[in-house]
């Protein structure tokens, strides 16, 4: 197939060049180019590659045919169904923020394009008994907190580790694990799934791929490996290399919108307000951003991903520490992009978090033997304690002298990941706008003031009129009930209240009749009551039926949202019995845990159940999507 102006985003000249080049490439060359292009796409700026050619990784896998024409007709045209092979697969995802779900969806689309019958499902709604009926199982799972499975992966995870799971011989599978290398239990959930399935007798047909925050590239590689393997599998083990096709429609967002995670929209800041009153020890920004002209839209519960910029002071300190030249070109030069070292450190690379891979790569440039020592497996605990609360500047200061050239930062450092924030507005109530609630994270560690990259940028260096590169991240696991008359209970202390402002604005805009109940908490009533006058207005209008608040530092005894839940146990249980959905958003470590415990207690006491039955009741709420969490 030839690239033309009509079936690709390229000009005639570009298409001609590509058509000359592509047929001459070897498989290895395509793979190499693929990786290069993925980086060249780089996560910022406008890049035609990732949008027009979402399928680039798959081309590598297919190694010869390039199908770039969008639309079902092109796919149908390209697909060649192989007779005699069982083309059936199940794609399961365990997703907290929606990334795994989105990647799973993309794989499912690619499999469908190959003529597979695909079952795509969240793990919590999948019947594990069906595992024995499926030929191929592909899992995309993220890891949460301290190595925990995401909420909607929990039932399936527990099933696999229970005695009921057995005898999966004949099942072919592969796992894509998402995680963050700055956490100790990186990709643990995916790893667990992979190992457990093997223990249960299933056959791993493609190796597990573990993704760091910048998951696009490794995920694409995994897609390629999986598609190769699955076709080999259906062909009875013979390698199939010729008729695979790519599916440009795979990324639904990519076709709907010009802008996406890989091609963020530069949204103008319309308003930035500190929601905390004078005298507060906190600072929480309410941002109103314009989406005008972006074509972007969102649903309540969705998130916005922001590509932040590092603190210029920290960047300059790093450059000074290394005696680097800030203007040295370290990135491929592209129009409108700052390819200098300083620009790269500001916008492209993560410099505030230390991870094992980073230290491992850096170690070869360090003359200090202690760094190699620290990286030895037996010094795991020392390493963990060292990286905790330290950043790149600490590393450079602590383990010099260095032979690290400025250009090496592009290979040593991890790409600066986008920051996700729950959207605090309803698109229906605010056309062409998106509102965010961002609390400044600041702390002192190892004698230096440090802060959250994005929250400090937003608090200290962002003004109305500036722009922020952003994309919409759907979160299908945090959605209002389809029936607007269903009661809704929302628990969102601190910035966890953001999505509930979106929920309530939406219900207010739609004139929904269902009851709503919000539990909010923070430190001080006078200064920390986020969106206080919005809630008061909604209470008056009826969009919000009830509001309970808990301010922990206003009384001698600290009071939190879970205490308010327990105070209203009978009524809360009554709402659940009426079919209410319950939502929790905010801090994962303490709040979500305490709220979960309170919920179990309420169900146990009010329902007259023992603890096991109460747990089953709550698990059922989760399985039926009536208990959803967006915790971080």
């Amino acid at each position: 197939m030839q690239l033309k102006v009509t079936n690709s985003p390229f000009s005639e000249e570009q298409a001609a060049l590509l058509n000359t080049l592509l047929p001459t490439l070897t498989g290895t060359q395509v793979q190499w180019l693929n990786g290069f292009l993925a980086f060249y796409g780089g996560g910022t700026g406008v890049t035609p590659i990732e949008n027009g050619l979402t399928a680039a990784p798959d081309i590598a896998a297919a190694s010869s045919v390039l199908a770039a024409a969008p639309g079902a007709a092109a796919i149908a045209e390209a697909v060649q169904v192989q007779a005699g092979a069982p083309r059936e697969a199940t794609v399961l995802f365990g997703s907290q923020t929606g990334n795994s779900q989105r990647l799973a969806g993309r794989l499912a689309d690619k499999l469908k394009a190959l003529g597979f019958e695909v079952t795509l499902s969240a793990m919590n709604v999948y019947k594990p008994a069906n595992l024995k009926k499926t030929a191929h199982l592909f899992i995309v799972a993220s890891t949460h907190g301290e190595g925990d499975p995401p909420d909607n992966a929990l039932p399936f995870y527990e099933f696999l580790y229970s005695k009921r799971a057995s005898g999966l011989e004949g099942l072919k599978y592969s796992v894509l694990a998402l995680g963050d290398t700055s956490y100790e239990f990186f990709c643990k959930t995916g790893r667990d799934f992979d190992e457990r399935l093997a223990e249960l007798g299933a056959e791993r047909i493609a190796d597990r791929v573990e993704c760091d925050l910048d998951f696009e590239e490794p995920a694409s590689l995994w897609f390629g490996k999986v598609l190769d393997a699955v076709q080999a599998s259906v062909a009875g083990g013979a390698a199939v290399a010729s008729q695979a096709v790519s599916a440009p429609a795979a990324d639904s967002q990519g076709t709907e919108n010009l802008y996406s995670r890989t091609n963020p929209f530069r949204a103008e800041v319309l308003t930035t307000i500190n929601l905390n009153g004078r005298g507060s020890d906190r600072e929480t920004r309410h941002l109103e951003l314009s989406l005008e002209g972006s074509g972007l839209s969102y649903q309540p519960g969705d998130c916005v991903g922001i590509y932040p910029e590092n603190d210029p002071a920290l960047v300059d300190a790093i450059i000074a520490q290394m005696n680097w030249k800030p203007n040295e070109i370290v990135l491929p030069e592209r129009q409108g992009e700052d390819a200098t070292l300083r620009g790269a450190l500001l916008r492209h690379f993560e410099i505030t978090v230390l991870t094992r891979p980073l230290l491992e790569k850096a170690q070869s440039y360090s003359a200090d033997g202690r760094l190699a020592e620290l990286l030895k497996p037996e010094n795991k605990d020392e390493l963990r304690s060292y990286v905790n609360g330290r950043d790149l500047l600490d590393l450079l200061q602590d383990f010099g002298p260095w032979t690290l050239p400025a250009g090496a930062v592009t290979t040593v450092l991890r790409k600066l990941p986008p920051r996700l924030y729950s959207i605090a507005s309803s698109n229906k109530a605010n056309p062409d706008e998106v509102h965010l609630t961002i609390r400044k994270v600041e702390y002192e560690s190892h004698g230096r003031k440090r802060g959250g990259v994005c929250s400090v940028q937003v608090s200290e260096r962002l003004e109305a009129g500036d722009t922020l590169p952003l994309f919409i991240q759907e979160n299908p696991n945090f959605k209002l009930p389809a029936d607007p008359s269903t009661p809704v209970i929302m628990i969102g202390p601190g910035t966890g209240v953001a999505p509930f402002r979106a929920f309530l604005e939406e219900r207010e805009e739609l004139g929904s009749e269902g009851k709503t109940w919000l539990f909010y908490g923070d430190r001080h009533f006078v200064t920390d009551f986020l969106y206080q006058t919005d809630w008061q207005r909604m209470l008056n209008s009826g969009a919000l039926s009830k509001l309970e608040v808990a301010f922990s530092r206003d009384s001698e005894e600290k009071v939190y949202v879970q205490h308010r839940m327990l105070e209203h146990a009978a009524e809360l249980y009554g709402w659940l019995q009426e079919g209410a959905h319950i939502y929790v958003c905010g801090d994962e470590k303490h709040m979500a845990h305490d709220v979960h415990k309170a919920l179990l207690t309420i169900v146990e006491q009010q329902g007259g159940l023992d603890s096991e039955a109460a747990a089953a009741y709550v698990a059922e709420l989760q399985a039926t999507q009536r208990y959803q969490r967006d915790v971080y």
């Binding site: 905390n276 009153g277 006078v526 200064t527 206080q532 809630w535 309970e548 206003d554």
Partner: protein
């Protein structure tokens, strides 16, 4: 029915506040629910009106209003809490308690008011109950510190005349107790129904009480529909109200103020009181009181039907007659005051409407006895005398100047800490003066040295380093907390005085006492109509300037310049002060001089205030 002539109350449809009081079930309203609402730190206008009777009202930090609105935060609502302190006398234990509450629940300062009460600012709604509870545990109360009832009864601290003062102060306390509302609502809401003040004979609300209240409320509603004249006349029940025998279910049309002066000092501004008593001391013994009625400060800008007025002398009574006299006076105001238009509802308008003669005869009729002719007396001043003084009983007093009555620690002046330390060892009392100053009273000879050392240690002086005008200046709170303020007062007056002081210095008047008073609005909390020079706020930075009140508080001031700012104030006053310095007669006070020199006309009655 004085002189056989039927005098009819003014009538008119009852104001919203009258309806509110009627429906409040003796000051309960929905306060219990309101206090439990955690979503707002404020309360509705209706509840706030009721809160006043409980000694508090809602304010907010007006400096932050606009900023907070943008931040999607409601105004910084907070409550002012006023503590009834009859005659301004508190024990050291009570001082320590108020100090503790100011630190714990207030804004860290204590305000000594122009009516000798303690005031806490910045109390959050959720802390009100505990604060009020602790006030009561210290044997003080906030009940009736504000609202349409008799307020804190003032009396001259008069430390030097210790035996007379003790007796006068006893009457101030008795008046406060006797005239307090009797509704159990206060104890129900704040003290969980407990009765802590043994002086208040309060029984828990019984069936009969509730029923009677409802019947009476219904009667009032019915009357209201008939409208006009009879509506308000019927409101008070003829002494038959089971819960509030004196006030009835709708209490008074407006606040009611009583003060007792002990000549020669008129520090409590007896002529500004609705009901004033002037102690008559003969041969060192208190023989009784002259009585004045119908004084009051408040007015409304641009409304000449409102005006400050001086109380008028109507006779003399014996000490044991003053409770009955006060009660009957209050019932007359209860029955004849204007319940339709609140700004015309004060007692002074009732008297001016119907005439002093009518009032005296109505009073005599209700008393069943007549007042004796007033006895002679002389007032010399309305300001305080600072420094050490010795009582007849051999104990000592120390009177100190407190800037605008605000007890607070500032850099170099640890006033609040110092007074706390003194309270810990002091065996006498604390006396709040009507001029917002403080007297450490009845210091034993043994403790005097220790107290003096502490005063020195914390940099507290009687104020002699301040100019005389600063020491006799008076201001209300105004911005940022008072909802009525149109301009600054407490925060600005010191600055203005700082600009006037060089002028006075230049004119050789540094030690000349001139009463300067400033308020943020014409409500008149710092009694500006009795200031020799007075400023009443009109808008931010702009004031109406008045002059010519009597130095001893016996004559009102008169508008001299309207709507002027700082530069004009200084430019206006400078030549007048120089004129005064060069042409005053011996012992002639500034207020008298400006009249003699023709700057303003003398105002002997409020009816001439606007003419």
């Amino acid at each position: 029915m004085a002189n056989g002539q039927k005098v009819v109350p003014i009538g008119g449809p009852p104001s919203d506040v009258e309806h509110l009081k009627q429906e409040s079930n003796y000051l309960r309203g929905s306060l219990v629910e309101t206090l439990q609402n955690r979503v707002t730190g404020g309360m509705s206008e209706l509840d706030n009106r009721l809160m006043k009777f409980h000694g508090s009202y809602m304010q907010d930090d007006r400096d932050l209003r606009n900023e907070r609105q943008k931040q999607k935060l409601e105004p910084a609502y907070q409550f002012m809490l006023r503590v009834v302190t009859p005659g301004g006398v508190a024990t050291p234990e009570q001082w320590l308690e108020i100090d503790k509450l100011a630190q714990k629940f207030g804004n860290g300062t204590i305000k000594l008011t122009t009516r000798q009460a303690f005031q806490l600012h910045g109390v959050l709604k959720w802390n009100l109950k505990q604060t009020i509870r602790q006030v009561n545990e210290a044997m003080l109360t906030t009940l009736a510190a504000c609202g349409d009832v008799n307020r804190n009864v003032m009396c001259n601290p008069n430390p030097e005349q210790s035996d007379v003062h003790e007796e006068v102060h006893k009457w101030a306390k008795e008046l406060t107790t006797h005239l307090a509302p009797k509704t159990p609502a206060y104890h129900e809401i704040w003290l969980d129904g407990e009765k802590l003040d043994k002086n208040l004979k309060i029984k828990p609300k019984g069936e009969a009480g509730a029923k009677a209240a409802k019947v009476s409320a219904a009667a009032h509603d019915k009357a209201g529909k008939h409208g006009a004249a009879t509506a308000v006349a019927e409101a008070p029940v003829n002494g038959a109200d089971p819960v509030e025998p004196m006030y009835g279910p709708v209490y008074l049309p407006r606040k009611f103020k009583i003060g007792i002066a002990v000549p020669p000092s008129n520090d409590i501004d007896v002529y500004s009181q609705d009901l004033g008593y002037i102690a008559i001391v003969e041969k060192g013994k208190l023989v009784g009181f002259n009585v004045t009625v119908g004084g009051g400060m408040g007015m409304t800008h641009g409304d000449t039907s409102t005006y400050p007025q001086l109380g008028r002398l109507i006779g003399f009574c014996k000490p044991d007659q003053i409770l009955e006299l006060a009660e009957k006076t209050i019932t007359i105001q209860r029955d004849y005051g204007n319940r339709s238009v609140r700004k015309n509802a004060r007692f002074k308008y009732t008297i001016d409407r119907h005439g002093l003669e009518w009032f005296v005869s109505e009073l005599h009729e209700r008393l069943g006895w007549e007042l004796a002719p007033a006895r002679p007396f002389t007032f010399e001043r309305s300001g305080d005398t600072y420094g050490w003084s010795k009582n007849k009983n051999g104990k000592w007093n120390f009177t100190m100047y407190i800037n605008s009555g605000r007890v607070v620690d500032t850099e170099g002046n640890m006033l609040m800490t110092g007074l706390r330390e003194i309270a810990k060892i002091h065996t006498g009392d604390f006396r709040l003066s009507a001029n917002q100053n403080l007297v450490l009273g009845n210091i034993s000879a043994q403790k005097k040295k220790q107290v003096a050392a502490l005063l020195e240690q914390y940099g507290i002086s009687e104020g002699s380093h301040h100019s005389a005008i600063r020491r006799s200046a008076l201001s209300c709170v105004a911005l940022p907390t008072c909802g009525l303020a149109m301009a600054e007062a407490e925060r600005y007056l010191p600055t203005l005085l700082g600009k006037l002081e060089p002028v006075l210095e230049e004119a050789g008047l540094r030690d000349e006492e001139i009463n300067i008073r400033m308020t943020g609005c014409p409500n008149g909390c710092a009694r500006p109509a009795l200031g020799e020079i007075a400023f009443i706020g009109k808008s931010p930075g702009k004031y109406n300037m008045y002059m010519g009140a009597g130095f001893s508080g016996d004559r009102l001031s008169k508008l001299y310049r309207e709507n002027i700012g700082e530069t004009e104030i200084i430019d206006t006053l400078k030549p007048i002060l120089h004129h005064y310095a060069s042409e005053r007669e011996q012992n002639e006070h500034f207020g008298d001089f400006v009249i003699r020199a023709g700057y303003v006309k003398a105002v002997a009655s409020g009816l001439d205030f606007h003419s």
